[in-house]
Symmetry: none
Subunit: 203 residues, 4 copies
DNA sequence: CATGAATGAGCTTTCATTCAT
DNA sequence: AATGAATGAAAGCTCATTCAT
């Protein structure tokens, strides 16, 4: 029982630190955030952070991985059961962008702060992110197999182009104080362009 | 003569510092680069840096502005004289991506390090970048006016999607040690998807 | 117990830093003293200084305030129980000057280094010092009320003149390598001049 | 003629630098004043300063010596021709304090900034200042010789007390934004106390 | 004499990390 | 497991001074 209690507490602290970090990173940026501020926001001692994370970079990476898992689950769920690859891309775009609305701080961190960790960008092998990209290319390949999408489309390029289009739209949405376009509109426009752009010509 | 000399000297130091900063930022990342290392690489004293730039952030911003001017000029020149909006987009993509090859370190900085400056991402009002984006939307509008592109495409969304697609491809190209796709291929694929995706249906 | 320990430790470090600062400031002067040298002399890390003081200026000001409190207490105690205002001034002078002997380094700092902090001289509102000056004027007023001192003496001027006379004597005593006059002599001479100079003429 | 011109110019620059330094030191304090700001205020190049002064400290010392000469001349002139030592002291006080009014910036520098140069306070042998103090003691000795002042007054102590009283009054007058007492009143009060305080008792 | 661009030593302060309790 | 006082390396920036022109 005391063990179980501790386990619960531990889990609690980990979560509290991640949540505090999201707020603090979003407010100050990664490099300008102090570990002690995260500790204060999480209501733990400075040293406690280091019982749960290796260092400051590790907080950012864990935070990103956990969020990426959630995004991945979400998107997979959104397209599950769909047959039409074109429809799948539309749902993908919709799911990706609507996650912004649910957790704007997290979106801002992924947009801006994540790229502040050079270590992360250059050294870290980002499995979840690759799974995410490959979800797109698998949809495209499926479309090509079904004859819906053109065979000359390179899924390896198109997946990045599609992600990049969504990501840039996210950046705009996160950083711009005035949002000219609704998320639904943006998702629809982008998936529309890509689907039509990759469509096989009528035989 | 002394004035010309000074101008030459001044211009020389400014350029040397910028070039040194490109190398140092590319090697260590912005936050892990020391001003003294830039100074050493530029063969000037630490204090000299501050005769030409306000602070470390300012170096990054100047470096970006100068590069952005060059990019803008390049792309404008590439599409000048073209009539066909579809062709213009293809040339745009080509010009954008081929600049990567010419100065890879600069490309890496803009991809990775530039976004590490909170000041840059959040506060700095980036005229040149907006001009760049608007170059895309003006091509799209031109295409719509000519009846080449569909009227329901929103240029404000499409310009970001197009730029994002190119930018993500740049990131891949800059960060990936192995380049699976040539720049020409990527440019062609992306512009192809967008052009076909925005094409008006045959009447 | 842990609380008491911490309190003891904290108090200890604070005191050690102040005492180290007195030595270092006295040796090098305020502006030529390095915080790191104070830290070394106090046997703490550089950063520890900033757990106890806001900055270098703050060390000087705290040091002064603590000393001023001690001086004020001392002088108040010295004149307590005295009825004769003339005798009070004599005791005041004696107490003021004899503090020099007890802590010459502190005296030197207050004479020389304290005045190097523009913040101190111009901005800092110095309550304790005003209390000190007003102790003098209240003695003078008391003497006037008792008919011992002339009514045309302006206590606001006389208090500064008296303090200035003592202060200049302190400066001489602190800075001069050879002391021609004993502190007792100086105190007696100065209070004698002021008392006789302010005495009401015999009716 | 060109030599004469240069000599004139030289004299001019020296004076301009001193005058600029007075303004800059008064505004920022000695340690927070930049040599380059003095140069700008004097309309000379930074390097030119070092043709006329050894270093920053030297500017302060020269500035002080020149002013002290002027003060000494002024005070000597004021008491010249007076026979009565008591009257002399009154005129001395009057002359000392009224110099404040004529050049407040200079007064502020001597009060506040001069003491910021450790070199000045500790090492510099200040002839002019000693001459000034000894002017006071010679008046006192003269008074003792004439039987006006008591023989038990020690001129070496009294001169410092008198100067200190005037100096503290100056500090108040310079630093206090509100001046409660006129200079004439202060001078009269201080000399009055000292003269009466040193007066020999009627035989 | 005059210049002012260039120098570079040296400062204060910050903050991720540790470790005795 | 938790704490938080203490650490100390590290870095951006300043500015008195120099010297080639």
């Amino acid at each position: 029982m005391p063990l179980k209690n501790q386990a619960k507490k531990t889990g609690d602290k980990h979560r509290r630190i991640i949540e505090a970090a999201v707020k603090v990173f979003a407010k100050n940026g990664f490099y300008n955030s102090k570990v002690s501020e995260i500790a204060r926001a999480a209501n733990v001692a400075d040293g406690t952070i280091y019982l749960y994370f290796q260092n400051k970079d590790d907080i950012l990476i864990c935070l990103f991985e956990e969020e990426m898992s959630r995004v991945l689950d979400n998107v997979r769920q959104a397209i599950a059961g769909q047959e039409d690859p074109a429809r799948k891309l539309a749902l993908f775009a919709q799911a990706h962008l609507s996650l912004l609305e649910r957790n704007q701080q997290m979106a801002e961190i992924i947009q801006v702060e994540l790229r502040q960790s050079s270590k992360f960008m250059k050294e870290y092998k980002n499995d979840k992110f690759h799974q995410y990209l490959n979800l797109i290319s698998s949809i495209i390949r499926e479309g090509q197999a079904k004859g819906v999408f053109r065979a000359d489309i390179k899924p390896g390029v198109a997946k990045r182009a599609f992600f990049g289009a969504l990501d840039e739209m996210s950046r705009y949405w996160v950083l711009s104080p005035v949002k000219k376009y609704s998320i639904a509109t943006a998702a629809q426009q982008i998936s529309d362009i890509f689907v039509k752009g990759m469509l096989a010509p009528p035989a």
